[in-house]
């Protein structure tokens, strides 16, 4: 017999199989790491969608473009002002928060009591405005720009798996910001007010909460996170243009819905799944089908559990 126990052939085959397995697992792990990187950026954007939707039930289509503005602010901070990365991220966050609060005051506030579709169309208008305004030559210009990296890329090899310092930074900055947000929402007085407004706007107002202020704060915080996401996206996938926000924006929004819109951990979970699905589809099936599979997952989840993975199902009362 060729393959008796202890036969050199069997040992050889086992060794081959072992290395094969190692490669397959390593490839898979590598993709998981790439997925986590993309998922962290999506999570930062998704949180903004979820916060705003939770408070004023508005799908803020302009949020993806705020993300784009953040990426550009970081671009100029790093390239022109030679700021280090943490300061650049902070700069983008503050800039995005300011832009979002101005937009909220000018465009959304007059529509607080209008039909919801009017708000949605306004959000679309703001989105188109930001994209096309930023494409003007004296603003950011319509072309693709290569994103500067404030430090060289270092790859750490762990066996067959490679992790770059950029992936580590993206992941940990995202996690850090999410922890800060969670603490802010659950521990501070403003965070409590945010939760109250999300729960019931009118009652919250009766309790003496300044709803307009809370809505502005929510827009600001959500957009600051998107701004940070923009800078991280820029250094991770180093190419930006004024229309870069559309697809990540949509996907992050879908991630928020996937996890249960209005729920903060839901947005993180959904974003993780979204990033993972996208990267794994590119790796194992085909990168052209990436978007289709990602949205197919959304459709399936919506059909099985319409309120999202972590959402509580509510009974509609007459």
């Amino acid at each position: 017999m060729l393959l008796t126990i202890g036969s050199p052939w069997l040992i050889f085959l086992l060794i081959v199989f072992y290395f094969f397995l190692l490669l397959v697992v390593a490839y898979f792990l590598q993709q998981v790491i790439n997925g986590l990187q993309l998922g962290s950026v999506y999570a930062l954007i998704a949180l903004g969608y979820t916060l705003v939707y939770g408070i004023i039930r508005l799908i803020n289509f302009a949020h993806g473009d705020i993300f784009m503005v953040g990426a550009y602010l970081g671009f100029y901070a790093i390239l022109r002002f030679k700021l280090p990365l943490p300061i650049a991220i902070l700069f983008a966050m503050v800039g995005c928060a300011a832009v979002a609060i101005i937009i909220e005051r000018l465009a959304y506030k007059p529509l607080r009591n209008a039909p919801r579709i009017a708000c949605l169309i306004t959000a679309l208008g703001v989105s188109l405005f930001l994209e096309n305004f930023c494409s003007l030559k004296f603003v950011f210009g319509p072309n693709y720009l290569a994103y500067p990296r404030p430090f060289p890329v270092v790859n750490f090899n762990l066996g067959q798996v490679t992790i770059s310092n950029i992936q580590i930074i993206v992941f940990f900055v995202a996690i850090g910001l999410m922890i800060l947000l969670e603490l802010f929402v659950s521990k501070t007085k403003t965070g409590m007010a945010m939760r109250a407004v999300a729960f019931d706007k009118n009652t919250a107002q009766l309790m003496g909460i300044n709803v307009d202020f809370i809505v502005s704060i929510t827009f600001g915080i959500g957009s600051a996170l998107a701004g940070a996401g923009g800078v991280l996206y820029g250094i991770a996938y180093p190419q930006i243009n004024p229309f870069m926000g559309i697809m990540p924006g949509l996907k992050a929004f879908v991630a928020a819905v996937l996890g249960g819109i209005g729920i903060i951990p839901g947005a993180m979970l959904g974003a993780g799944i979204m990033g993972m699905v996208e990267v794994l589809t590119s790796a194992y099936i085909s990168s052209t089908l990436r978007d289709a599979i990602a949205f197919l997952v959304l459709l399936i989840v919506l059909l099985i559990k319409p309120t999202g993975l972590l959402g509580e199902s509510s009974i509609e009362k007459v």
């Binding site: 039930r57 708000c119 679309l124 208008g125 096309n132 089908l289 978007d291 197919l296 059909l303 319409p306």
Partner: protein
């Protein structure tokens, strides 16, 4: 004895039909004498195509209340189906154009039925997101369609479609769409559609089969989109998946909301004005600030929404679109 109101009704009808014919004749004369040149003829035809498509969305969203963000997908299905049929037939005549348009409409309707059955259970925003997802999936399918049917061209675009759409066809089909829609919403099923929009639970409790009517509205609206897509394919003789992406669905939604939800007249006016403004700004604006065209347009949009949140026509109709009760 014929009653007075009936006679009055008939005379308005004749007046309206006369107006429609004269309006057509004037435009046709202007076009054949090249006072309206080929470029503007194409734009006017495009306005008609957008009108048909937007009327379809108005039926789905304005009248039936089902939020759809994937209308361009059905438009695309119609366009590709119709172009595929005529291109594979290797000959073209008017008869084939009709077959193509019907096939485009029916195929869009069938897909709408299949996708609508599961997803129309979702409510408001969730339905919007699901249809948005469907639209993006369809765009990926258009992008990769050449793997199965090389004729469709995939992401390189589909070329060599015979250019058969002319103003007469577009005008006729806009007319038919308006008449069909007007008669539908004034019929018993039409009232059922509106009741679903107003209150789903209440209409269910008085015996309206909401699933059936939601699907009905969705399918008919998508058929309109499919027919419009067929016209579009034979108007520009070139199809690209980019023409059917998420942003195009948004364009149709804008037209419906700007015109006023559940207003046929509003949709017609808004579609025509929207197309003409986008093109008109190209002509009016000086070369130096041409880039501003796409900056001004969203600003107009925001201003209209702030000052007229219900749309320009908000629920009003031209008189002839009102249904007059027969005594």
């Amino acid at each position: 004895m014929i009653e007075k109101s009936y006679i009055k009704n008939q005379t308005t009808k004749i007046k309206v039909i006369l107006f429609i014919i004269i309006f057509y004749a004037v435009l046709q004369v202007l076009m054949s004498t090249q006072i309206i040149n080929n470029y503007w003829q194409q734009i006017i035809c495009f306005a008609g195509v957008m009108t048909i498509s937007a009327l379809g969305l108005n039926l789905i969203y304005g009248f039936t209340g089902q939020f759809s963000l994937g209308h361009a997908a059905f438009f695309g299905i119609g366009a590709y189906t119709s172009a595929f049929i005529i291109k594979t037939a290797h000959f073209n005549n008017t008869f084939l154009l009709i077959i193509g348009l019907i096939a485009g409409g029916i195929f869009a309707g069938v897909i709408a039925f299949l996708i609508g059955l599961p997803i129309l259970r979702l409510r408001s925003d969730y339905l919007g997101i699901a249809t948005l997802g469907f639209g993006i999936i369809m765009k990926v399918i258009f992008d990769n369609a050449d793997a199965v049917f090389p004729v469709l061209g995939g992401s390189r675009g589909m070329v060599g479609i015979p250019q058969m759409t002319n103003f007469a066809w577009v005008y006729l089909l806009v007319f038919f769409t308006v008449i069909i829609l007007r008669n539908l919403i004034n019929s018993a099923p039409g009232r059922a559609l509106i009741s679903v929009r107003e209150d789903e639970i209440a209409s269910e409790s008085v015996g309206v089969n909401t699933t059936k009517y939601k699907t009905l509205g969705f399918v008919i609206g998508s058929i309109f989109a499919g027919v419009a897509g067929g016209l579009y394919a034979h108007l520009y003789a070139f199809l690209h998946p980019q023409n059917f992406d998420f942003l195009k669905s948004i364009d149709v939604l804008l037209i419906v909301v700007l015109g006023g939800m559940a207003s046929i007249s509003g949709t017609i006016i808004a579609a025509v004005v929207w197309v003409l403004i986008l093109e008109g700004l190209r002509v009016v604006l000086p070369e130096a600030i041409l880039d501003w065209r796409l900056v001004i347009y969203p600003l107009l949009l925001i201003l209209i929404m702030i000052f007229r949140p219900g749309g320009i026509f908000s629920g009003k109709e031209f008189k002839f679109l009102h249904y007059q009760e027969k005594k």
